[in-house]
Amino acid sequence: MTFRIGQTLSSLALGLALATTALTPAVWAAGASDTDQERAARWQEIAKSIFGDRQIAPTDSLVKIDAPVRALDAALVPITLTMPNDGQIKAVSLIIDDNPAPYAAKFEFGPAADPTELKLRVRVNNYTDMHAVVETQDGKLYEAKQFVKASGGCSAPMGMSDEEAMKGMGDMRMKFAETGPGKPVEATLMVRHPNFSGMQMNQVSRDYTPARYIDKLTVSAGDQTVFTLTGDISIASNPVINFAFKPDGKPIQVAASDNQGGRWQHSFNPPAPTN
């Protein structure tokens, strides 16, 4: 809002003709503030239901959300969360305000985590604010916000039959990026799982495919936890998560479960550091 008003004012300075045209968006902006207020009120409601009465302070250093302003595919919106790597981040929650199930994901970091950069792909149902809320080791909460234009992601069909979508469910792959000794290792975890939202309709039978999504996923490096993810229907099908960890030479273990009792476990060997 401030930005638009500022634009109008500078236009006024440029001359009367320009100012006249610039006033039209200013009138429109007055209407827009209703939407902004509506969004702010919704965020208050969501934050209260998730975090209770705890205070959440704004931050631009403890967490940042990168998301496309306009997503190409609402069912597959790439999100990057950037956080400092100094051990102070305990957990991060991703909330997609205007999704019917707004609480998309919570990552709780363990001692082997490097939370510098975390990537995942989500479904976005409406033009929405997204919030990332970090909890620091001292128990304080901080939030960052990003607006995303996409719609229909939660109900978009996968473009194949349910049987085909569930083929190989629970299979996993992991890719490791090259790294130097003593440095955190970047990894990409790919999980084969439809993550059915329960809002996707089979266009022929007109039945809804029941929700079947990964609700818990734990990644450990040896005996040390990297992160535990609590997931929801807003995570895109065939989840892909980019993360980093502190290697200690032991295999990376991944344990995942879904809300229908599926349980999977895989182990991956990170490459030996090259000098």
């Binding site: 209703d34 409601e45 069912a75 205007d98 609480y103 039959s161 939202s197 266009q203």
Partner: protein, 195 residues
């Protein structure tokens, strides 16, 4: 565009294109009566007896002297039957500000009492003026608005505008407002559900 491709791919994969009203996504002919196929899919470019409008025309009508009646017939977000009790479920329905939301009034078949209520509500909203501009919409590629608009044309409304881009087309350049279901429509749904 990906979404359109996705729907097309899913249709092709499920061999449902044959059941759709046309082979070509860009030239879907108008069905004889109301459309009873899958609610989501390519719609015709026309609706006989109604004008087809885009978001700019809707905005212009709303800004004009003869305020249109806006009717949103989009289905509400469906809560998955097995959604866990403890998880946050808080659906929201952004739409054209000032619209009256009567979910699934474009369903076919539609229970006779629902259809009667739909006509009654539109009669109330138009003040009995059959020439009043009425804009009917739901989502893009949604047959519900086509059917609902068709119902009004058949009922003798002469100012019917069908807005096929729906809320997706509207929100590109305009602000939305979160709607609640029309109270009369909601009350009737609850009575029905309680029977």
């Amino acid at each position: 565009m990906r979404r359109i491709g996705r729907v097309a791919a899913s249709c092709a994969a499920l061999f449902c294109l044959a059941a759709a009203p046309a082979d070509s996504p860009v030239n879907v002919p108008e069905p004889e009566g109301l459309y009873a196929g899958p609610p989501k899919g390519y719609t015709p470019p026309t609706l006989t007896g109604a004008a087809v409008v885009d978001a700019a025309s809707v905005a212009a009508l709303m800004a004009g002297p003869d305020k249109p009646v806006l009717i949103d017939v989009a289905a509400p977000d469906r809560k998955p039957s097995n959604f866990p009790a403890g998880r946050l479920w808080l659906p929201v329905h952004p739409s054209v500000p000032g619209a009256v939301w009567m979910p699934e009034a474009g369903a076919e078949p539609l229970a006779p009492e629902r259809e009667a209520l739909f006509y009654q509500r539109v009669a109330e909203l138009t003040g009995g003026d059959k020439a009043k501009p009425v804009i009917v919409f739901c989502h893009v590629e949604c047959w519900g608005s086509w059917n609902a608009a068709k119902r009004l044309v058949r009922k003798g409304y002469t100012g019917v505008r069908w807005f096929p881009e729906g809320v997706e087309g509207w929100q590109e350049k305009n602000e939305t407002a979160n709607l609640r279901v029309d109270p009369a429509w909601k009350a009737a749904s609850e009575t029905q559900a309680g029977r």
